[in-house]
């Protein structure tokens, strides 16, 4: 039965989508809560630099060495951003907007100069192609498992372990970094660990959905969950749920309309965000209006 599962292209595609979504929203939740969502944007663009450098050094286009290279690039990006912001001559979002385009530019130029005749598919890096994930398989225990499933399983497990083991520390560091530091939880180190996991998740996700759609999975489900609940564990759960729902619905709609599957999955996350924005039971616009209406009624009547 497991063999039938792995041979079912449809299921594999949806599975990869759900895994990308869950892994991304696990780390993305804390980024959104900290107000650092755009770092996922910065990292996923500057990773092109990391990929090119790693490729120039090792000639591996994917695999664990690229995951490590991605983690380091993510670290570098955030480190440079914090460095610029710490000069106090610009705000943090301006620093972000300076660092990642510069790294991206260096990456593209390195490609131009050293790898012009070699095929590093920047398209695929930026857009991925989830429709083909079931083609690239490795053999594990006699089953042909898609490469993407393997790398996403690793990343998902790592992220789950990290978030699970450090849940209390992450919560405290996010909402009260000063207290966390005073209590010795090293919020700075925790933050960098989170970012390294984000970068690695991004690279693992590239195969499937590409850089820009990774951002959608990292930010939008957590944002939607943020509009639905106040409790962090529930945010994580809802993020995973929304990602999975978006993957499944996105797949079927994409097949129906014959359009990009990864793109459609990301669009569906947006649909859920819109739903939460408008109809969320606590923070949606409709319930806000209703509450104001009721309050006005009480005040006057």
């Amino acid at each position: 039965m497991l063999e039938a599962f792995f041979n079912n292209a449809e299921l594999q595609i949806m599975l990869v989508g759900a895994m990308v979504g869950t892994a991304s929203s696990l780390v993305g939740t804390f980024l959104v809560l900290r107000g650092n969502s755009m770092l996922s944007d910065a990292i996923s663009h500057s990773i092109v630099f990391g990929i090119v450098v790693v490729w120039l050094l090792t000639h591996h286009q994917s695999g664990p060495v690229q995951l490590i290279g991605a983690a380091l690039t993510g670290l570098l990006t955030v480190f440079l951003t914090e460095l610029l912001a710490s000069t106090r001559r610009m705000k943090q979002d301006a620093a972000i907007g300076l660092v990642f385009p510069a790294l991206f530019s260096i990456g593209v130029l390195l490609l131009n100069v050293y790898a012009n005749d070699v095929h590093i598919d920047t398209h695929t890096v930026l857009l991925g192609e989830i429709g083909f994930v079931w083609l690239d398989t490795v053999e594990i225990l006699g089953y042909h498992v898609p490469q993407a499933v393997v790398s996403m399983t690793i990343m998902l497990t790592l992220n789950l372990i990290f978030v699970g083991a450090f849940f209390k520390e992450l919560k405290l560091s996010t909402f009260d970094p000063a207290l966390a530091k005073a209590l010795g939880f090293a919020p700075g180190v925790l933050f960098y660990a989170l970012l390294m996991l984000t970068s690695s998740t991004a690279v693992a996700a590239f195969d499937a959905v590409g850089a820009v759609l990774f951002i959608a999975f990292a930010i939008v489900p957590p944002a939607a969950a943020y509009l639905l609940t106040d409790r962090v564990w529930l945010m994580l759960a809802l993020g995973a749920l929304i990602s999975t729902a978006a993957s499944v619905s996105g797949y079927y709609i994409a097949v129906q309309w014959d359009v990009s599957i990864g793109g459609m999955m990301a669009v569906m996350t947006g649909v859920f965000l819109l739903l939460a924005f408008i109809a969320g039971p606590r923070y949606g616009i409709i319930s806000q209006r209703l509450r104001r209406h009721r309050a006005r009624g009480l005040a006057t009547g």
């Binding site: 530019s105 130029l109 939008v220 014959d258 990301a266």
Partner: protein, 375 residues
């Protein structure tokens, strides 16, 4: 290509003029975005332009610059409005709203792209140009369009200069004056779309963020006044654009967009370092000077106090043996404030004895006087 011959080259002229217009418009509008804490708005709007480009293509039936620009402007503007709505009407913060709009609109664009191409694979064709820009394919007519858009943006800004200035720095006060603050804020936000639309051809989606941010950040180091900042930002933009275009033409096969961005980033770094007053180099110099002055005072004071406490002769006070102190002592000796004499080293006593000279005594007395002076 030799230096002079490229000036006559048609493509080079187009690229340079286009880059210059891009520099002007992104420098001026970017100044407002950066001052208002919306630095990454350019990033979001440029990604959000993709669906508009596709729609423009669908409506026109072919790659028509005019309809593509209009499409990009429409979806870019919509994304900006949605971002504002998400921020104002829910508890989402700016960064989450920006990131959401960016990725969702881009995803819609990817879907439309695959719809156009009739395949499920988005990794083809025009997307490359959109992501990385295709400066070399700029036509003279494209340049005039860019110039026109730039002119319109500058005209609107000039007409609403006072309002824009007030709304940027003190929105509450502007509201009390009866200004339509929300309208002006929406206008300032959506105008970035114009800059993005000009920049898509030149530098592409990803690098547009830097074109909005870099000239403004560089300019901010040089000027404290909005007018000055805007003008300097425009100049920085133009210089980056032209250097990037020139480097790209001279170096075969080097992409224009990245070179423009790296030129702008270089200008930012230089500005951070040497801008008068704010420059980091000056701060380092100031700190070093202060540290030296403090050390000098400390040494003179210590020597003077021990001299007061005991007679002139024997014991040299214990001064830290570090290299810094040794260097400081030699420097003070060079300045004529100290003298030193060597004697045979004995255990527990350093070989070199330091004593104050008469002028050293005078300086030390001055220092002590400032310590004891009534506050």
């Amino acid at each position: 290509m030799s230096w002079l011959s490229i000036l006559g080259d048609y493509t080079y002229q187009n690229v340079v003029m286009g880059a210059a217009f891009l520099g002007i418009i992104s420098g001026t509008l970017g100044s407002f975005a950066v001052l208002r804490g919306q630095s990454l708005l350019g990033d979001a709007i440029s990604h959000a332009a993709l669906p508009g480009v596709c729609l423009g293509f669908i409506v026109a039936g072919s790659r028509n610059m005019g309809s593509i620009i209009i499409g990009a402007a429409i979806t870019g503007g919509l994304a900006a409005l949605l971002m504002l709505a998400l921020t104002r009407m829910s508890r989402l913060k700016t960064d989450a709203a920006l990131g959401s709009c960016l990725s969702i609109f881009f995803a819609i664009g990817v879907v439309l792209l695959t719809y156009i191409q009739g395949t499920e694979n988005a990794s083809q064709g025009g997307l490359d140009a959109f992501l990385f820009g295709q400066a070399a394919a700029t036509l003279r007519s494209d340049v005039w369009i860019m110039g026109g858009i730039t002119f319109v943006a500058l005209a609107i800004l000039a007409a609403l200069w006072k309002q824009a200035k007030l709304v940027t720095f003190d929105a509450e006060f502007a509201r009390t004056l009866g200004m339509p603050v929300t309208l002006i804020e929406v206008l300032l936000t959506t105008m970035i779309t114009l800059a993005v639309v000009v920049g898509l051809q030149m530098v592409g989606v990803v690098l547009m963020a830097a074109m909005i941010v870099a000239p403004a950040v560089a300019a901010r180091q040089w000027s404290r006044h909005l007018g000055g900042m805007v003008v300097i930002a425009a100049m920085v933009g133009v210089v980056s654009g032209i250097s990037g275009a020139t480097l790209s033409t001279l170096g075969r096969g080097l992409a224009t967009g990245p070179l423009i961005i790296l030129s702008a980033s270089a200008i930012v770094l230089v500005s951070l370092a040497i801008a008068p007053g704010r420059g980091i180099l000056w701060e380092v110099l100031r700190l070093t000077q202060q540290r030296w002055s403090l050390q000098k005072h400390q040494i003179l004071y210590v020597l003077y106090q021990t001299r007061l406490e005991q007679d002139e002769s024997e014991r040299s006070p214990w001064l830290s043996r570090s290299a810094f102190t040794a260097f400081a002592l030699y420097r003070l000796q060079r300045q004529g404030l100290l003298t030193s004499s060597r004697r045979a080293a004995t255990p527990g006593k350093p070989a070199r004895q330091w004593r104050l000279t008469p002028s050293g005594v005078r300086q030390a007395q001055q220092i002590t006087a400032t310590f004891n002076a009534p506050q």
